[in-house]
Symmetry: D2
Subunit: 289 residues, 4 copies
Amino acid sequence: MPALDGHTATLLMHCRDQRGLVAGVSEFLARHGGNIVYLDQHVDTAEGVFFMRVEWELTGFGLAPEAIGPAFDEALGERFGIRWRLHLSEEWPRMAVFVSRLPHCLYDLLSRWQSGEWRVSIPVIVSNHEDLRPVAEQFGVPFHVFPVTAGNKAEQEARELELLQEMEVEFVVLARYMQVVTPTLIDAFPERIINIHHSFLPAFAGARPYHAAHARGVKIIGATSHYVTEELDAGPIIEQDVTTISHRDSVEELVRKGRDLEKLVLARAVWAHLQRKTLVYRNRTVVFD
Amino acid sequence: MPALDGHTATLLMHCRDQRGLVAGVSEFLARHGGNIVYLDQHVDTAEGVFFMRVEWELTGFGLAPEAIGPAFDEALGERFGIRWRLHLSEEWPRMAVFVSRLPHCLYDLLSRWQSGEWRVSIPVIVSNHEDLRPVAEQFGVPFHVFPVTAGNKAEQEARELELLQEMEVEFVVLARYMQVVTPTLIDAFPERIINIHHSFLPAFAGARPYHAAHARGVKIIGATSHYVTEELDAGPIIEQDVTTISHRDSVEELVRKGRDLEKLVLARAVWAHLQRKTLVYRNRTVVFD
Amino acid sequence: MPALDGHTATLLMHCRDQRGLVAGVSEFLARHGGNIVYLDQHVDTAEGVFFMRVEWELTGFGLAPEAIGPAFDEALGERFGIRWRLHLSEEWPRMAVFVSRLPHCLYDLLSRWQSGEWRVSIPVIVSNHEDLRPVAEQFGVPFHVFPVTAGNKAEQEARELELLQEMEVEFVVLARYMQVVTPTLIDAFPERIINIHHSFLPAFAGARPYHAAHARGVKIIGATSHYVTEELDAGPIIEQDVTTISHRDSVEELVRKGRDLEKLVLARAVWAHLQRKTLVYRNRTVVFD
Amino acid sequence: MPALDGHTATLLMHCRDQRGLVAGVSEFLARHGGNIVYLDQHVDTAEGVFFMRVEWELTGFGLAPEAIGPAFDEALGERFGIRWRLHLSEEWPRMAVFVSRLPHCLYDLLSRWQSGEWRVSIPVIVSNHEDLRPVAEQFGVPFHVFPVTAGNKAEQEARELELLQEMEVEFVVLARYMQVVTPTLIDAFPERIINIHHSFLPAFAGARPYHAAHARGVKIIGATSHYVTEELDAGPIIEQDVTTISHRDSVEELVRKGRDLEKLVLARAVWAHLQRKTLVYRNRTVVFD
């Protein structure tokens, strides 16, 4: 399998905590000649759930990629009741980006993609406004506008979904997309829509968080990236960060400082997702280092 | 006035923003031979309010401490409608500490006081439990217990107030005091009761914030120090800080990490208050550097 | 002067600390009808130096822009020995960017400029390599390559200087430019060349700081933005920030995490410079909030 | 073994990286009925070294504590060449504290000990000055003074070592102890003397780091806790943290802000050591979460 040289496989798994799980998984990989390059596990003792991420080199590994899943299920998966996902490093994820009018997160995502910092494909950018078309064109990424009104929202989302499926999109990033996403999209991309919210959730959920933060007189502002669920601003949190502010900062200054936070927090969350380091369980995330 | 050698006076003031305020104040001090060692001002352009803190050396200053206020009012205060407070560095504030059962903030406050890190007096510690009496005694500070029940709260707070007044207490620090303070105390110490809340308010207001933070799956926890007002956990914020957490952290770990935050944030808030660097306006604070 | 509507003027000044400075400056502006929108001052008591930044609205101000300097000098500058610079918000600074092969800081600077986040012009990008020409072209900024060898460095820098002067460049940003800049450029742009160094200086000055940080086993890495002086990595620091790392992080991970720090720290430093909030004195900076 | 109820054992180990290590260790514990409550491992791929920390419940474990080591060596230790240490949670470490004149770290350590926050014993405090005796006495800990002069240093350290051995001290914390410790002590406590240095090492090693930081004009200051080795300020780093400063901060302000950092960073390092989460390899540390 010369095509696999330098490539790795990653198993993300969780199940009820039981004795022998780490021993079983590591023994399975050892038996097939897999050299582990990363292993991290976590036991949620309160819930009694076991989580694990293990990554190993495919060079010299005794199973073809398509044979790994069935062999793992036969050896361990069924016995322990493990729910798992397998990812191969040679397959680059396909990511769609949704934007409205604010460009800072879009620039940042496109720069990381174009410069080769991230191993990702961006087949399409979706927007409800024309404003950012020049940015998309400058980076050479197709840009589709679906204007949303009170009356056509369901219809437009259905068309967006069709486009995403046609483009074989794996996951979606809402890069300051100012529309509430409905179950039409959420159900098609469960735990695969990443949003950036401009506050340290759960503080200042909803609209205009910088105005709310200024009115409350907080001394820190933040940003939160989370997977989108049907409950607005309440999905499992992937990444958060904050910065200090003072009485000197007007709302405009909060917006300005917040922009940098939003870019950074969203980029870290997308990176964790791309690295296959995130697992969701009961509206909370395990994010391996 | 040899007693004033090395001492300073500080004026904290605010009024409607008008032209000539900085010029007027600095000219007033210059005229009396005051050497300014600190001047900071802030204009809230949205509210149209001017805030200023100015500190100057009393050595060589042409006015006796008791004459400063009247002279300032005559020169500027009445004309500009300035509300001001004068503080003299030679007068050490008298601080009461309220505690319940958790000792970490109390140890920290007492250590800073006893070691001379802070120029403050602590004439009394008040508690609703006996638990921390040994700590108070070890540091040589009088400890008074007022057990609070559903039926006797008003009466006990009245007795506490009496004690604080007898002790000539200037301000009160609630160092993880697990009782809601009522207007009996709040009205007697407006903007002079400092509380520490174990979350980054307004997130997780109310009881058991670490449990709530764990359940929500946030990636940062925080602590907030604020002046106490009648609306619970909603008073003007003096200081906030946060620390990162991960899926590995149990509620117990959050409590452990949070303790260090609480100590630090409370200590910074008390320090700002002691330095006369805080001003409250419409439920927000100006905290000068 | 209708063209001045909404515009402001900013005076940055420093001199020996003397009584009456704040009063004098604020009185000067009040006399000409200047409405102060920002005033901050700092006294370095150890050095006995006074620093001030004051910004006021030009609408309604009684002096034409070209008359401000002479009037200020006559009223105060000569008497107090004030060194000052005047900046007008209507004049956008012209910034040159120097790069080598690493694109992340360049993308970030160009995105902030193109999106209108910064009021700045970028008339030219200079490089010693061809690699980043496509990025410059995509953003529509002229890109000039001056390959540097051991033998032609002085000559190439002279040509670069000529280009910068022809383009009327006000200040230069070294955005991971991997060449030591010599006095040819430094003397032409004193305190006007901003560099980003990929460590928390003075730790790990010189080349390959991430390798050095990994070898030393530090638990934090950082980035430092500073004005360039003849002594390498020793110029006055404008901005620094850090991020935590652990034993899990390889050198490659440090490089990856560091990239985001470099972008952010450089952007904050350029912003402070653009806002005219930086003053240099004896190899240290005053950076007003 | 009823005495073991609720207690755990922890194995800290490292060896050359080989296949089957995780499988082997987890299988060994499973075979004896050990329920793992914590497992973390790290592979330094550059050095080819494997590190692991595993903690399991002793209740129901099939080996008596004194039999664990021999059984582990027979099953795995010798085959894989594992160097390991075994710790039992029921055995509280005995910690000596060395101080000079600055009290803030001492107060913090004693408060954490006395309040039961840490499971540690403090049988003795050693100092080269009398100053902090009242603090030690107030907390009820024996205080021994060994005045050090140029002529008697070796002799005094020998006496200190004798005292530590007599007190069965396991590890030593230098809580702002202003003397260089020599091999007499270092060799007796290898990787078991923890120091706090008041800078973000390797910046500002040596004496008076706050003065050096102020002179250099850095925008952040830090503190570093490390194991003491013969090369001054160069031992393996356990914990670092920083705080931002500005041009407003005098050296005295740096000292004041630094104190809080020193307390916090030292406490975190001691906590990691107490939790048996630190491993040293080639002058670097692995600090498990």
